[in-house]
């Protein structure tokens, strides 16, 4: 596996490749197998409400249902996450770790190095596409009827990974002009969301030209799962061409720029005079961020947290804006659809607050928990990368450093809950929407304990386990927790299993009000995890990375 950059990169990608591939396989197999005529017919009634989500086509068939529900917007967004991260760190990650210079000290040219790494990403995405196709074919085999053959399923998978590859290449290109992989990944993620919005907005405005600016539009011009859909292979070629253009730009810039520097600002960094350099000390003296570990953590997480909070605001505002217009219709559909009523068995839709609870608070806790996870994982990665060695050489106790980092993470999570509450409250005032303030407050602030448990879990594991293990364990727990809660209406789980899910324990405060038992219980668990973190961190070695 270490014979070439290609094989080494493939080895690096093996875990995400298999995790995403088999995850997609299982998901698609399960969802397609469940796309029975009853489910498809029931879903038809929701299409009018969800028309902003995608462009419905052949909705009375399982292929149309699966394409609309999962392949138009949801999976293109989800599957693009990993290629964006991989593209952003493709060469910038090596530069940040300091390994790029060693690689370039070999006889490999920069162009070849970059292309081999991209080839590895392409192979990984192709494997994911094949596994996706296997899942789809398996699902249709279980469903019966022989709707989709392997070639069609594979084409759908290839179309999906082509879009993901495009975003990966955008991230790669942006990583040439930013100085860090996080910035490149952040900007590309922002572009992804923007393109999705452009696609949605363009369709809502009756085919406005703005959708032509979105690669998601060109992706959706091909729907290989649907036999009668007028596919446009040129659209796929256009996406491929754009991806190759980004790749070409990346190769051009990477071959010419300084290693470790941005392609556009390297000279500015070099040109600081001695006086300017010393003035930077005076500026740093005045900076609040350098005062404590907690403040430094808050400022370091500032921009990424800002975008997260903005995303939460946008998410809440969008649904609040839609709620008055769709509430009665949704309620009617739910009442008339046994399948949907069963699915939403514990979340009524008969009031605006209830519908907001059903829609917003089905996803907002997950968003806040993922935010908590991303924040907390920096503790684990900083420990693994030895970024805290100098901090631990100062007279700050380990416990204090941990507590300040935990506190900074908890504060941002608290801000997320406040922002959720404020957005919904102010939004309701602006559009004269009658909502129950008490329940809204309960639903917003009940998101705090699950997020604190997530942070506590990461901190408790981080002292003993490597970053990859912590990421794997906590992510698996969160995904299983969410799945368990989502499937609760359809599958009966033992009581002890449901009580392990933080999303189940979060409950439905949007219409049931605050569940103090669960709130305090989860807060207690979070505190217990923090205490475990503190106790075990007293005794662990601070390892070198």
């Amino acid at each position: 596996m270490f014979r070439s950059i290609l094989s080494k990169s493939l080895r690096d990608y093996r875990v995400p490749m298999l995790a995403w591939g088999f995850g997609l396989l299982v998901f698609m197999a399960a969802e397609v197998a469940m796309a029975t005529p009853t489910v498809v017919t029931a879903y038809l009634s929701l299409v009018k409400i969800l028309s902003f989500w995608g462009d419905p086509y052949a909705m009375n068939t399982p292929e149309g249902y699966i394409t609309f529900r999962y392949l138009e917007t949801a999976w293109p967004i989800l599957l693009s996450i990993w290629p964006i991260l991989a593209g952003a760190r493709l060469v910038r990650g090596e530069e940040e770790r300091g390994t790029m210079e060693v690689l370039l000290a070999t006889s490999q040219s920069r162009t070849r190095l970059l292309l081999e790494k991209v080839n590895a990403l392409v192979i990984a995405l192709l494997v994911i596409a094949v596994l996706f196709a296997v899942g789809v074919v398996g699902g249709f085999a279980a469903l019966g009827g022989g709707h989709v053959d392997f070639v069609r399923a594979l084409l759908a998978g290839l179309n999906l990974v082509l879009l993901a590859f495009f975003f990966g290449m955008v991230a790669l290109l942006l990583s040439q002009v930013t100085t860090g992989r996080r910035a490149a990944a952040g900007w590309t993620s922002g572009l992804l969301i923007l393109f999705v919005f452009l696609y949605m907005a363009g369709r809502e405005l009756n085919g406005s030209w703005v959708q032509y600016l979105s690669p998601v539009y060109y992706y959706n011009l091909n729907r290989p799962l649907i036999a009668g859909f007028p596919d446009q292979p040129l659209a796929a070629l256009l996406l491929l061409g754009l991806a190759v253009l980004c790749l070409g730009g990346s190769v051009f810039l990477f071959a010419r720029r300084d290693i470790g520097r941005s392609a556009i600002e390297s000279q500015r960094e070099v040109a600081s005079s001695r006086q300017q350099a010393l003035r930077s000390l005076s500026r740093a003296e005045r900076e609040v961020s350098t005062r404590t570990v907690g403040l430094q953590t808050l400022f370091a997480d500032g921009w990424s947290s800002f975008w997260w909070l903005l995303g939460i605001v946008a998410f809440c505002a969008l649904w609040q804006f839609l709620t008055p217009g769709i509430q009665k219709f949704v309620n009617q559909v739910v009442q008339q659809t046994p399948w949907l009523a069963h699915y939403l068995y514990d979340t009524p839709t008969n009031t605006n607050t209830a519908l907001l609870g059903t829609i917003v608070f089905a996803f907002a806790p997950a968003l806040v928990v993922i935010l908590a996870l991303t924040l907390a994982l920096k503790w684990s990665s900083d420990l693994e990368d030895s970024r805290l060695e100098l901090v631990f050489s100062t007279p700050q106790s380990r416990q204090r450093v941990l507590l300040e980092r935990f506190g900074a993470n908890a504060l941002i999570v608290l801000l997320a809950t406040i922002v959720t509450w404020l957005t919904l409250t102010i939004g309701a005032l602006l559009i004269n929407l009658s909502i129950n303030q008490g329940r809204l407050l309960a639903a917003s602030f009940s998101m705090l304990p699950p997020a604190l448990i997530t942070i506590g879990l990461v901190y408790a594991l981080a002292g003993r386990l490597r970053y990859g293990a912590v990421l794997g364990i906590v992510t698996a727990y969160l995904v299983l927790s969410y799945l368990q809660e989502s499937l609760e209406g359809n599958i009966q789980f033992p009581g002890w299993v449901t009580s392990l899910s933080i999303f189940h324990l979060y409950g439905n405060p949007a219409f049931l009000g605050m569940d103090w038992t669960n709130f305090l219980g989860m807060t207690g668990v979070a505190i217990a995890l923090l205490v475990i973190s503190l106790l075990q961190f007293r005794y662990v070695d601070i390892e070198l990375g």
Binding site: S280, A284, T292, A300, L390, F392, V540, D541, I542
Partner: protein
């Protein structure tokens, strides 16, 4: 002079791989103490144990009478530390890192920070990711010296520094010594050790091999002797002789090569008994003395045997 660092039977193991084993030494207040050893010998492990970053399996270590593990926060008030390798948030500027660590330590004189930055020619306006290895090392030195600590623990402090900055560093060491403060540094550069250190310890494969004044190590009379015999010679003749640390076959079967410490009387007597035709002696350089300490034990044993 009181000991500022005391270790007793300090042991740290990493499972099957070696750490340090029963390391015992004292460092007196006001001295500059050098720590030498090949890569992986245990220098960094010893220093990180003193900083409370690693927990020992057994033994004890104190700094200023304070336990390095249980009272590590108090210990760090006395210490300035430069790790062998360090990294930081790549987006922070040098000035921000200095200021941040200054706040965490407390008691930092900004004028002194500026003087250190000027002396070492560090550009604090750059981001950490933009620093070369040498500039990172300068940043590390600034943060270690900036609060004028009672004790400086420096892991290979001149690594990556250019000769001018190395000279500046030696001046800084001399100033610290003149102020009665203590330095514990590891190094691979023997002239540096000769120039800066009062005493030196050599660690090999996790164990302390020797600890002495640098001047004493210089005067060790470890001589290389080559003896030629009329007939084929055996290494067994000299194995038990007093002062022989190594004996090996020479260029042919008539020649033996010995390393001898101390008096040569017994060597001359044995050589005479076996019909020696020529004896040549040579005194090794200080560098060779250290290289012998650096050699793996198995190799030393093989040479001796």
């Amino acid at each position: 002079m009181p000991a500022i660092i005391q270790t007793h039977q300090l042991t740290k193991s990493y499972g099957k791989s070696r750490g340090i084993l029963e390391v015992t030494f004292d460092i007196q207040e006001g001295e500059v103490f050098g720590f030498l050893g090949p890569n992986g010998a245990g220098k960094t492990t010893t220093m990180r144990t003193l900083m409370g970053l690693l927990r020992t399996n057994s033994g004890s270590a104190t700094i200023g009478g304070l336990d390095c593990w249980t009272q590590s926060t108090e210990v760090k008030k006395l210490v300035g530390y430069l790790p062998g390798e360090f990294t930081f948030d790549p987006g922070l500027r040098g000035a921000q890192i200095i200021e941040y660590l200054g706040h965490l330590r407390g008691g930092v004189d900004q004028a002194y920070v500026r003087s250190l930055v000027k002396r070492l020619g560090l550009d604090p306006s750059k981001r950490f990711r933009a620093y070369s290895h040498g500039n990172k090392q300068k940043l590390g030195l600034v943060q270690a010296f900036m609060h004028k600590p009672r004790l400086l623990i420096l892991d290979e402090p001149t690594s990556g520094l250019d000769p001018l900055n190395q000279q500046e560093f030696y001046k800084m060491v001399a100033e610290v010594r003149a102020e009665g403060r203590t330095i514990f540094l590891s190094s691979h550069i023997l002239p540096e050790v000769e120039q800066t250190c009062d005493r030196v310890a050599v660690i090999r494969e996790g164990r302390l091999v020797t600890i002495d004044q640098v001047s004493a190590l210089k005067t060790i009379r470890q001589r290389d002797i080559e003896i030629a015999f009329a007939d084929p010679a055996s290494v067994d003749w000299f194995k038990q002789a007093a002062g022989v640390t190594r004996v090996a076959q020479g260029a042919d079967e008539h020649i033996l090569q010995l390393v001898v410490q101390g008096d040569l009387a017994q060597i001359i007597q044995i050589a005479s008994q076996h019909g020696a035709t020529n004896i040549a002696t040579r005194e090794p350089s200080l560098e060779e003395v250290f290289l012998r300490f650096y050699e793996p034990q198995q190799q030393s044993a093989a040479l001796a045997g």
